[in-house]
Each structure stands twice: as C-alpha cells, then as structure tokens.
Symmetry: C2
Subunit: 444 residues, 2 copies
C-alpha cells in the first residue's frame, strides 16, 4: 500500500480538532508525582460523597423495581423523575417559586456532564465561520471545542465584575458595521466564580448581556449559553440571580449546570434548561450521539436530591473549599513578592484563583518560569491556554491559573511558597517593570 493510500481520510472537523492543552499538564503531573498540583481542575478527593453513594446504591439496588428501571435504557432527554427534581432544585438555587422559572420538567435535558451540552448546543447552532462571543480569559476546553466546530471566538475582556458587557456591546456594534452580525450565534458566559479567574458576573451586567442578545437579534435569535457549573460552590457574598432569570419568556438563554463540581464528577451528569425549539434540536442531536446518558448515574443523582444528601453535601463542600480558598489567599499574601504589577483575584466561590504577573514574565509551558516551577515541585495552568488571540493574533502570557480544588489543604502553603520563590526569582532577573507583554504566536 502506498503512503497516500494508507493515510486515513480525516474529516474537516477532525483536522480542526487539536489536543486539549490540559493533556500535557496531566502527563506532567503523572510523571512528577512529588509535584504540588495547583493546575488540576479536579475536585477534592477528600470530600467526595462516598458514604452517601454507598447508601444510595444500597437503597437503589435493594429495590427490585427501581433497580431494574435503573439498569434499563431510559429516554434521550433523561429520566423524568430526575428532571422533575432538577426543576425544583433550580428553583431553590434561584430562590424563586418553581412556577416563576418559566420551565417544566420537559424543558430540562440531562447530559453526560455539562461539557456534552456545550458541545451539543454548538453542534446544533454553529457552522464553520460562525461567531461565538466569549470572555477573555475563558474556559479553554470550551474554546477548543468551538475551534473544532470551526467557529470563530471573538473575545471581550473581563474585569472584577466578570465579562465586560460594554465591551460585548462594542464587539457586536463592530460586527454589525462589518456586516458579520448574521454570523453571531452565541454569547458564552460562565456567570458564577468562573474558570479560570474565579470571578462572577455582576448583576447589572447580567441584565445588560440579556438586553444585548435581544437587541442584536435582528437576523436571528442570538443565544446566551450561561455556564453555571460553579454556582453552588459559593463561600461568601450574596447569591445572584442567573442571567436566565431575567429572560422570563425563555427565549435567549441556555443555562447549564453540573453534578461534577457540587457532588461527584464520577457520575458525569450535567443538566440544562433552554427554549423548547432549541431543546428539540439538541435532543435530536443527542439521539445520534448516545440516545441518553447513563441511567444508573441518573438514579444516583435522583436519590441524592430526593434524600437531601445532595443539599447537605453541598454545604459540607462549601465549608471545606472555603477553608482552602482562605488558605490559598493567605499564602499568596504571605509569600508573593510585593510588586505593583503582581495581583490575584479573590473569588467568593468556585475552585480557581487567577494570578497576574508583571507583564514581562512569561508563564507559558515553554517558559523558563514553567520549567522552574516543575523543578521546584509546583504545577499551574499557563494563562495563555485561557485566552483567545486578539485580531492581531496576540495572547497575553503573564497570567496563570491556580486551582485549590484537588490539592490537600496542608500542601497549599508549601505550593504557593514554591511558586512565589520562582516568581521572585523571575522578577529579580527581569529588573524594572515594563509595559504589558503580549506575544504574536500560538501557544508554545
């Protein structure tokens, strides 16, 4: 067989699909087991609901009729009794009566983690060349997915109040001027304690994002994909209503939630509510993907909610993560060198702290700093993974993401100390602060 003839004929989508950058970090962590891993987006293994799942599965498999139902196929949309519980749960989290959500249980879709619904919504709305507006920085697994789908991500900056809605407006106005508004399909926003910054979209910006989606829906309906994965991991501050809560007519918002962060990634379940016409298309697409997520997991989730174990577990988790969040912030204050260009976020929830270094320090995986950190025994996520290049192809390279999710509480201080020592060394070698550094290139 000739070389050409032995080649696999990959699809255009496959050729656009690149390895998720996180794979490299996972490999690095596996090969360096002594590392204090502040990179992993995993949840804390110490607080996983082992006893709860033991009780739940004993109850489930001890009840013959339920067990048989759990081991059989269910529908593509998901187990109906679970979707009814999820409707009540969404109302509790939103702090409104169930009737005010504007949903029925049949407007809720259960997916294989919330990643699957990010993919499905993209698959159903996006053709190559279509535009998704996202914050810079953003959740990099999703932007990788969008690249695979052929979509163009147009980024809007964010600040302490989350994605900058005024900047989104400017982006939309520019795209309108350029005659490209017809390609804008989605605005993606992680509205609570986001990945990677830990920051939350402010109340006025929630209203404004929805108003923008409405106002710029001149060619077609522009959707907001509200990723609320970290919503329930709130450690202080006031609860905020979702963007969705302002969309009373249920026209513009997909709100996605997950069991992975507030309960257990191992049952791999997400759930989303969205307008009925979009849901129909998404369910048909899911029919082709898998015609329904694992039913046993859906019964575990159902039982966790019905028994109240889920709700009390979230409280336990919040206590535990709050202490770790406090610890990482204290360690950063204690160990990081004082420098006018060095700062970090102070998240009220979630699993992440976002660190900004002096502009001339390069944090990329190819950088001296990254290698020094690995040698010193600490791992972080290079911030450039989380950025979309601007129109000049430039990416900021002086940020990094720290996660206090998986790391043991007693390791946090040592991890931050190791990191701080490398940062101090970098600052000393670079000398005086310069203006913001960006590089024109793909990830190194």
């Amino acid at each position: 067989m000739s070389e050409a003839a032995s080649r696999l004929p990959f699809s255009a989508k496959s050729r656009r699909t690149v390895e998720q950058p996180i794979s490299y970090l996972i490999q690095t962590a596996l090969h360096n087991p002594h590392l204090i891993n502040l990179a992993a987006g995993l949840v804390d293994p110490r607080t996983l609901p082992v006893e709860q799942c033991e009780q739940i599965t004993q109850r489930l498999f001890g009840d013959d009729a339920r067990a048989r139902a759990a081991l059989q196929y269910d529908t593509t949309l998901g187990l109906r009794t679970l979707r009814k519980e999820l409707l009540s749960h969404l109302a509790r989290v939103e702090q409104v009566p169930e009737g005010e959500l504007g949903y029925s249980a049949d407007d809720i879709l259960v997916t294989t983690g919330s990643q699957q619904v990010l993919y499905l919504v993209g698959d159903v709305l996006l053709d190559p060349g279509d535009i998704v507006i996202a914050a810079n920085p953003s959740y990099f697994v999703y932007t990788g997915t969008l690249t695979s789908l052929g979509a163009t991500v147009v980024a809007a900056p964010m600040d302490e109040d989350g994605m900058d809605a005024d900047a989104v407006e400017q982006v939309l106005l520019r795209l309108q001027r350029e005659g490209r508004l017809s390609r804008v399909k989605l605005i993606y926003c992680t509205s609570y304690f986001d990945n990677p910054t830990g920051l939350t979209l402010s109340l006025p910006r929630r209203r404004k994002l929805l108003e923008l989606a409405r106002r710029f829906s001149t060619h077609h309906r522009i959707m907001i994909h509200e990723d609320a994965a970290y919503r329930e991991l709130r450690y202080d501050g006031q609860p905020l209503p979702s963007i969705k809560s302002f969309d009373r007519e249920n026209r513009h918002v997909i709100i996605s939630n997950t069991f992975s962060k507030p309960f257990a990634p191992g049952i791999k379940l997400g759930y989303s509510a969205m307008p009925a016409d979009l849901l129909d298309a998404v369910v048909q697409q899911k029919g082709n993907h898998d015609f329904g997520s694992a039913n046993v997991c859906q019964y575990i989730a159902l039982n966790a909610l019905q028994s109240g174990m889920y709700q009390s577990h979230v409280q336990t988790l919040c206590q535990s993560y709050r202490a770790k969040r406090d610890a990482i912030l204290q360690s950063l204050s204690r160990h990081m060198p004082k420098h006018p260009e060095l700062s970090w976020t102070k998240p009220h929830g979630g699993l992440y702290v976002w660190l900004t270094l002096p502009a001339d320090i390069d944090t990329r995986r190819s950088s001296r700093m990254f290698q020094r950190c690995v040698s010193a025994g600490v791992l972080y996520v290079p911030g450039d993974y989380c950025f979309v290049a601007d129109e000049h192809g430039e990416l900021p390279v002086n940020h990094l993401r720290l996660s206090f999710g998986q790391v043991a509480p007693e390791q946090i201080d040592a991890g931050i100390q190791r990191l701080a020592e490398v940062v101090a060394q970098e600052i000393n070698e670079h000398g005086a602060p310069k203006m913001g550094q960006k590089v024109t290139s793909a990830r190194a």
Copy 2:
C-alpha cells in the same frame, strides 16, 4: 421581534438531523400499555443483573480508595484497569491468546454506549457527501446518524449469510468507475446476529470484506466499522472469528462492543478497539464531547468482569433469550399463514427476527396493517425504517422487525398470534401474490 429575528439559526448539521423514527413507536407503546411490544429494542427487564450490581456497588463504595477514584474524573480514553480487563475479555471472546489480538489496553476506548463510538468515528472521518457502504437492511439509528453527518449511505443487499460481500465489491467497482471511490470512507457491518435481521456474516464474507477494504484503499485507507453489539448473545451455532481477527496489522477495522446487550443498558458503556492513528483522532473528538464517560459505570463494569459476574451473567442471559428465541420461532410456525412469499429468519443469537411478507403487503407505520396490529394489540418495527432507498429512491415496504428482547416469555405466543391474524387478513384481502412491491417515497 420580527419572525425572522426570532428564528433560531440552526447549523447545516442540525437541519439534516431528523427525529429517530423509533420515537414514534415508543410513543405508541406508551399510549397503548396493553400492546404486546415486539418492537422495542430494549433488553429483558427480568434478566437485568440487579443482585450483581448490588454486590458490586457495595464492594465498590465499601472500599474508600476505590470509591474515591470512581467518583472522580478519569481520562477521556477510559479507566485503564477496565481497558486491561476488556483486552483480556476481547481475547476470550475471540478465543485467541491476548497477544494475538494485536492490541494493547491503550488501543481500547470506552464510550457512552457503542452508539457514541459510531458517532465519533463518523464525526472524525466523514464530511458531507462522503460515502458509507452498509447492508440493506441496516441498523436504522446509525443510518440516521450518517444522514445527520451529511454522509451518503450506499446500500448492499444481504441474505442468509449476512451482508453480500460480492454486492459490496460491485458497489465499490461502480463507485470507482464513477470516480467516487475517493468519497468512500467506511464500510459498516453488524457482523453477528444483526439488528434488524438477526443474521450473521459468514466466514468467507468476513475475509472478503476485509480484502475489499484493502484492495480499494487506493486513495486513502478505507475502514470497516464492525459492530459486534450482539456477539456474546449466541444461542447455538459455532462462534465465528471477527472481521478484525483477519486484520492482523490493525489497519482497517474498528470493532465495537457494548455492555448494554450482554449486561445492562443502564451503565451505558461501549468499548472499541481500532488503529492507533484513528484512535488518536477519536479520543481528541471525545475530549470535546465529554472528556470521558461516567467513571462510576466504568468501575461497575470493571468489577463485573473481575469478579466473573459478567461472564456468568452472559450465560444466564443466553439461556433465557434462547428460550424466547425458540418460543417466537415456534409461534411463527404455528400461527403464520402458509404462503410462498412469507418467511422469517431463524437467528442463532441476538434479539431480532425479520419477517418478509408477500410483496404487496405494506407494513409501514401509515399502513392499514400497522393500524390493525395496534388495534389487535401488537407492535412491530416497520421494515422500511431499516432500509436505505436505492438509486431510484425506492424502499421495500413488505418487511417487519420483531424483537424478543423485552417481551415477557408468556406474551410471545399471544403477540405472534395477533400479528398472524392481521397478516392472514391482509393476505386474504390482497388476493394472489404479485411481484415485489417497492415504493418511491420517504417513510410514510
């Protein structure tokens, strides 16, 4: 908002995606609970492994370290210990030493049911307009998936020996003459007790299909997707080596298997082995879909294999389904009118019997016969769902699929009797046999 502006901007793929026809049958069954359901592709609820899963989950959640691992994320490829067990299992099923499979555990991918790998392989290889060669009739969920992906399904007929490899050769020669060989990406074949006919690909045809994939790989490598979902549900006859077993170099075959049929659909796990270059692309695609199937389910599957419960459960299942297979064949002999154009398959495994009626009897969902059956209290799958139209757009409409999977043993005879009475009535009203009827139209 104007009507245009309120419209959702669906992707080309979404516009190609049609509702799976089975949805209508599920609705019909739900609204007519008295029906004897010979349509459902569900497994038998009576033989689901309830006690086994009770033991497995007690053991799993009673072991703190394993439980914590099961509740955490794992890799996109799947739990490594499970993949090692699956490698041994594949060797046992193939009846060869593990070393002769030509695989390592890292060549095995765990997916959310085997449907997910059918989708992923399609997603990675198929651009709109590409060609997949499949048997006529074929597994209709998959052909629906291919339509959604924009692929053209070119069908080759089948007979008692399964997909007609000589006809596949003729199809390939024709496509070559037409200059379309460069669009042929996949040959899809359910090689054991297939859905919908229950028939198995003969040994010579296994060799020949592989030989064809090799011979016609002139532009690029043509793959065979061997769907072995029903392989372990064998009730009599000799076990056959897989198509894959002849592909020693591991170049041309993806072999897909599932836990749904031989264990439990509720854990929603499939597993596939394939060439490494294809696997890399498929895993990257799965990274975008869900970055890994439910880990708890993978631990249940692992424990079922390691404890031997899986293997003994398959034996129990085969006994139970063998009795039901015998019952449905006996009932068909007893009740069906004698007619030279009326016949059915006698499967050695799987869950299906395929019935061919006189050519002028229409079995479609819009037909008088279908309505009469619903009124008489029996449901079947219209055979036209399983066919791809030929080049003239014609579909045979005188077949139907019967499943003995879900139906209770004591209902089989009554179900077949009801069906046979309707068939007899149809034959009487149609008079003398005519030549083969086909219709030029989509499904009614």
